[in-house]
């Protein structure tokens, strides 16, 4: 668990803090996304956790211990670190890159090699093919996978990720996000994740911390609550006028309560139960029909505009 206690950061020679009196908790095994416009201090906030940037006031507790209890380098070896520009070592092989922190921690060679192979498998790169390559031989998406594998190398309980999927095309990003969420289901890391993209925040976060200029916490809550009950004008404008639609993207068609379809389904569009309600709505609008067929657990169910609308209103009620 990571706990921010009235954390402020002011750079020497400046009167305006870049992070102001920040207090919140990141729970064990959760992804907390820091999001906000540029200059809101989200990256600074993340970098204070592993003391790449030192705090001016307040403290950050990791499992109850102030993060200043051990030296900065010792602390950083215990915290995974992945950044948008990846920063792979161009002069080291993929295996050496991933093995960086285990090597610093003094693991023996065999253990490092096994760990590297496991991690390459985990991020979907064949160890035999990629272990001995150099970063320049890999595509951007592959490099970002290696960057994530490297951050996971010493199995740190905490990870810091600064737009880790930022440097690739939207399709690859989407895939990397999905893969990472699948991995996270197993590894259950406590993650501080920085992005400027509210859609990525909604998708990746168990909790979202929306920051505004000067590193002031505007709202800290689950994606559902941020979308259904924005605290302020700032938050609602930041999440955008389409926040109702964004809420639909939190639900998959397979999770919806749908009616049985009894015949007469010819000519209706068919929709996968893996699709988000938002994508399903878009399909439905595009098809010109008023309902679509979803195959769920061997049964045909009927997806209607009413069903989607019910979703937005139940979200409103529960909120």
């Amino acid at each position: 668990m990571i706990e921010f206690r009235q954390v402020s950061k002011t750079y020497p020679g400046s009167d305006n803090p870049v992070v102001t009196d920040l207090s919140f908790e990141v729970l064990e095994g959760e992804i907390c996304v820091l999001v906000g416009p540029s200059g809101c201090g989200k990256t600074t906030t993340m970098r204070m956790v592993n003391r790449l940037i030192e705090i001016t006031e307040g403290e950050i507790l990791i499992d109850g211990e102030p993060n200043t209890a051990i030296s900065g380098t010792q602390l950083r070896r215990k915290i995974g670190y992945a950044i948008q520009q990846i920063g792979l070592f161009p002069h080291r092989t993929i295996a050496d890159n991933i093995g960086t922190v285990p090597h610093l921690l003094g693991w023996d060679k065999g253990r490092i090699r096994d760990r590297v192979d496991d991690l390459l498998e985990l991020v979907g790169l064949s160890p035999g093919e990629y272990r001995d390559r150099y970063p320049a031989e890999l595509s951007g998406g592959q490099q970002q996978r290696v960057g994530v594998a490297r951050a996971l190398a010493a199995d740190p309980p905490i990870m810091l990720m600064d737009e880790p999927f930022g440097a690739v095309d939207p399709i690859t990003r989407e895939r990397l996000q999905d893969e990472f969420l699948r991995i996270q289901e197993d590894i259950k890391k406590t993650i501080v994740f920085v992005t400027h993209d509210i859609d990525e925040a909604i998708k990746m976060g168990n909790k979202i911390a929306i920051l505004k200029q000067g590193g002031v916490l505007a709202q800290y809550d689950t994606p559902e609550n941020i979308l259904s009950r924005p605290d302020s004008e700032f938050v609602s404008s930041f999440v955008g006028a389409d926040r109702v639609l964004k809420r639909l993207s939190l639900t998959r068609v397979g999770e919806m309560d749908l009616e049985q379809a009894d015949g007469g389904t010819e000519g209706l569009p068919r929709i996968s139960d893996r699709m988000t309600a938002r994508a399903a709505l878009s399909e439905l609008l595009g098809s010109g029909q008023s309902s679509a067929v979803v195959e769920m657990e061997g049964e045909n169910k009927l997806l209607t505009f009413e069903a989607i609308e019910a979703l937005t209103s139940t979200a409103e009620q529960s909120a």
């Binding site: 602390l75 070896r77 950044i83 810091l160």
Partner: protein, 232 residues
């Protein structure tokens, strides 16, 4: 036609440009020691210069305020005419003529190039690579030796190549103050009006410069396996 023929005849009848007989007779006695002396002067000078330039370069890249005065001083050293520098050095009490002042001068000449390339090499390391290194818990020292210097290597070696070629050339002038080396052959040849010695000295110095350049290039390739790997 006849003019040209006369000219050719003239050249041929002049004391021969290359006296193979002399080369054979004096090979072991004059040429080989001069060649060895030249290798010694150049190698020792580059080695000493590197021992000075690497730390100074690293410090200059860390403490940026130190860099302008460093380039100013080494720039002045670099711009002094070599003959004048030799003359100045041997006029210093305690510095006798011989190899020592030559090596001092050659070191002085290569400092600017080597320091500048060390700084440029370290500057060329991508900031995100250093950020990732620090974020994973490498110490400053580990970042320098495991990340910055290896990645700066191509630019540092490029500097060593230029410095070495320059030094091999200038070292010939060192013979003027009894520094030894291939310059001995050249100066003797001038004094005795014997072109064979001049040509032997010049050709060997040139060959040595080219060979050293290629060797260093090969060394750099060998030390940089990642540069051979290219995006597939």
């Amino acid at each position: 036609m006849s003019n040209l023929a006369l000219l050719v005849q003239d050249v041929l009848e002049e004391p021969k440009l290359i006296d193979w007989e002399w080369l054979r007779e004096n090979f072991w006695e004059d040429i080989v020691p001069a060649f060895q002396g030249h290798i010694f002067l150049s190698f020792v000078s580059v080695a000493i210069a590197l021992l000075i330039a690497l730390p100074v370069g690293v410090i200059s890249s860390r403490y940026r305020k130190a860099y302008p005065p460093v380039t100013f001083v080494t720039g002045i050293l670099y711009s002094i005419p070599s003959l004048a520098l030799f003359a100045i050095l041997i006029s210093i009490p305690g510095v006798a003529i011989g190899p020592a002042p030559v090596i001092i001068a050659l070191v002085a000449y290569s400092l600017l190039i080597l320091i500048r390339n060390t700084v440029a090499g370290i500057d060329s390391v991508p900031p995100e690579t250093i950020d990732a290194a620090r974020g994973m818990g490498l110490t400053n020292r580990q970042i320098l030796f495991r990340v910055e210097l290896p990645l700066a290597l191509p630019i540092i070696v490029a500097g060593i190549r230029i410095a070495t070629v320059t030094i091999i050339g200038i070292a010939t002038i060192g013979a003027y103050i009894n520094g030894g080396g291939l310059g001995t052959l050249i100066f003797d040849g001038i004094n005795r009006q014997f072109p064979t010695m001049i040509i032997a000295g010049a050709v060997l110095a040139t060959a040595m410069a080219i060979a050293a350049d290629l060797l260093l290039l090969g060394l750099e390739r060998y030390l940089r396996p990642w540069a051979r790997a290219r995006r597939t």
